[in-house]
Symmetry: none
Subunit: 365 residues, 2 copies
């Protein structure tokens, strides 16, 4: 991209100051694995708005003021999202978080720029602030949007790890997590909360564990007091933070210095079979675990015979273990490893057991 050598080096595990759009534009394109962004929505722009002709606002519909501040907010959103998009690797992803004040602008602009929404996720607060005046529903949630760089783009999703985190049931799009309070809530010198919207680490834990791998680079353009960086460090991910307020940067630096990374073994996470090395069925025959001519059976009584090249012959079909299984069942597809069984001591045993033996040997060897 016409970038000088050296400029391509990412400032890992650092907090950059200044404007996030300028800072992002100075970093190399296609270099970031994940962006987590908690943009401000209360821009306090209203007082700065001036109508070009100084005319009076029509009192019938108070929407003018709102409309212009929306336009400014949209321009702000467009700029930082475009800068973020440029930084993302083709297989990277982005998370944004917002409330009903701004999340519809965020989601619409993500789609406008070609991001592909994967899920919207609801952070349900177990301890929200009540609605004191009793005029609305208790505002008990915020919304996160998770998006890949475009339709068809790959992305990281640690399905099994999240399923394990949720007691063996696949993780839903609504997450119950308490507000950041107590010892986790950072205080300034006066003992007041250091940042008005500090996010709980539990939220970032789930985001980073689920959608990044150890060693990935995570960028947060609205770093605040550094929750994204703290959790990234604990989980063995690299981070880059951008924050324009000096006081937040100072608190974040202090906080991050104290964070310890978890043991490497603790960061190893439950993986799916998809990540395991592939084993060809023919290898079982080659190694003598199954004999050519041996009969395999399905749970429902179908049979097929093993051939020397690792294909099967059923009644009127031949092909791979998967093809023959699918043909017999009249199904669009079939996992032959779990469908077919061989007989040992009069009992049917899934051939997947033999694959697992080979995989165990591969790990040791």
């Amino acid at each position: 991209m016409g970038m000088m050598k050296g400029a391509a080096a990412l400032p890992l595990n650092a907090i950059l100051d200044g404007d996030c759009v300028e800072r992002m534009n100075a970093l190399p394109a296609n270099s970031i694995d994940l962006i987590f962004a908690d943009p401000p929505y209360n821009l306090q722009l209203r007082g700065d708005l001036h109508r070009p002709d100084n005319s009076k606002v029509d009192a019938v519909d108070d929407a003018w003021d709102q409309f212009d501040s929306l336009k400014i907010y949209d321009a702000f959103t467009r700029d930082w999202l475009a800068a973020a998009r440029r930084l993302l690797k083709p297989n990277g992803a982005i998370w944004v978080i917002g409330s009903y004040h701004n999340v519809f602008r965020l989601g619409a602009e993500l789609q406008n720029q070609g991001f592909w929404i994967l899920n919207d996720v609801v952070w349900r607060k177990s301890n929200p602030m009540p609605n004191f005046r009793g005029k609305r529903f208790t505002n008990a949630h915020e919304t996160l949007i998770w998006a890949s760089k475009g339709e068809g783009a790959k992305y990281t999703f640690n399905y099994e790890a999240l399923k394990a985190l949720n007691e063996g049931i696949q993780m839903r799009s609504d997450w119950m997590i308490p507000l950041c309070t107590g010892h986790e809530r950072l205080k300034d010198e006066a003992g007041d909360k250091a940042h008005p919207t500090q996010k709980p680490m539990a939220l970032l834990h789930r985001v980073l564990l689920g959608t990044t791998n150890p060693g990935d680079v995570v960028l947060d353009p609205f770093f605040g007091t550094g929750t994204t960086g703290a959790v990234a460090k604990m989980l063995g991910r690299e981070f880059i933070g951008i924050e324009r307020e000096e006081s937040y940067r100072r608190i974040a630096e202090k906080r991050l210095a104290k964070v310890r990374k978890f043991d490497r073994s603790a960061l190893e996470v439950t993986t799916s079979r998809r990540a395991e090395p592939r084993v060809a069925f023919g290898v079982l025959v080659e190694r003598g675990m199954l004999r050519p001519g041996e009969q395999l059976v399905s749970a429902r009584g179908a049979t097929a015979k093993v051939r020397a090249d690792g294909t099967l012959v059923g009644h009127d079909v031949k092909g791979s273990i998967h093809q023959v299984g699918a043909a017999i069942e009249g199904a669009p597809s079939c996992n032959g490893w779990t469908y077919w069984h061989f007989m040992r001591d009069g009992q049917p045993v899934p051939i997947d057991v033999l694959r697992q033996q080979i995989r165990a040997e591969m790990r040791e060897g």
Copy 2:
């Protein structure tokens, strides 16, 4: 409002056919108390989807949900929202419902037109369809947006009624309600579902009870099989439905003829009775109550290490707290919550103590 007599007569408790924008424009301005709209979501489904058992998912592939581009969808949204806005009384309100495919377009356009968002509300589904391929989070919710006609406009909110409905606690912005299934789900002559996206009456019950008064006029421009009308009639509100598809209108007419005012029998069946889900061990890790890498011990001296995804690693075993406990004891099952202890001040403490802390938080929240 300079309206001719006669033109002002609303077609109450009727289903109008044809295009909803034309129909709305033919009704008198400032005449409707509440609009509930469930517009097409513009799902962009590519191929077929099969369950792991190879059965095919019955997708929403109806022509009425197809739009050629986001731009065309936005124009559609702009048109019907403008027509809806014209109809609303100054103190009226609107509800729209959508999923991540379209709700950001809806919310942004509501704001563009000057509507004032009062809350976004999450319909949490107690029984959503799982994510069969394990590629994303289970899409377990939809989003409703509740908005008044503009900043400062009055609106109806029956705070105490909703509080009573919620066992004396302020109603939150996240509602757990099951899908519309069983006898409530309308069937066509062939016995198939009459409408692909019929909403549960419990959802409309909460909306109409909370944000209208008896005698109010409720308009639904995407009436479908008439859930809005049915609940309005039960609750003593007037309704106007607009529906393009003749088959849906016919079914709705039949359904509405059977509905009795204040007949709540169906609602009581469909209100969710499921308790809060169990606490996952992984949540203790996420929340920092236990640290990845930390060692747990059993009363008989066995040890295991906590991983970041809420699984344990023992000597030669990994899995859930229950699985690892059972493997170590050689038992068929094991209650990990009482089996495992963490060390505090040199003393072993059962991890169940931490679970009880989280349950207490959830009860309070």
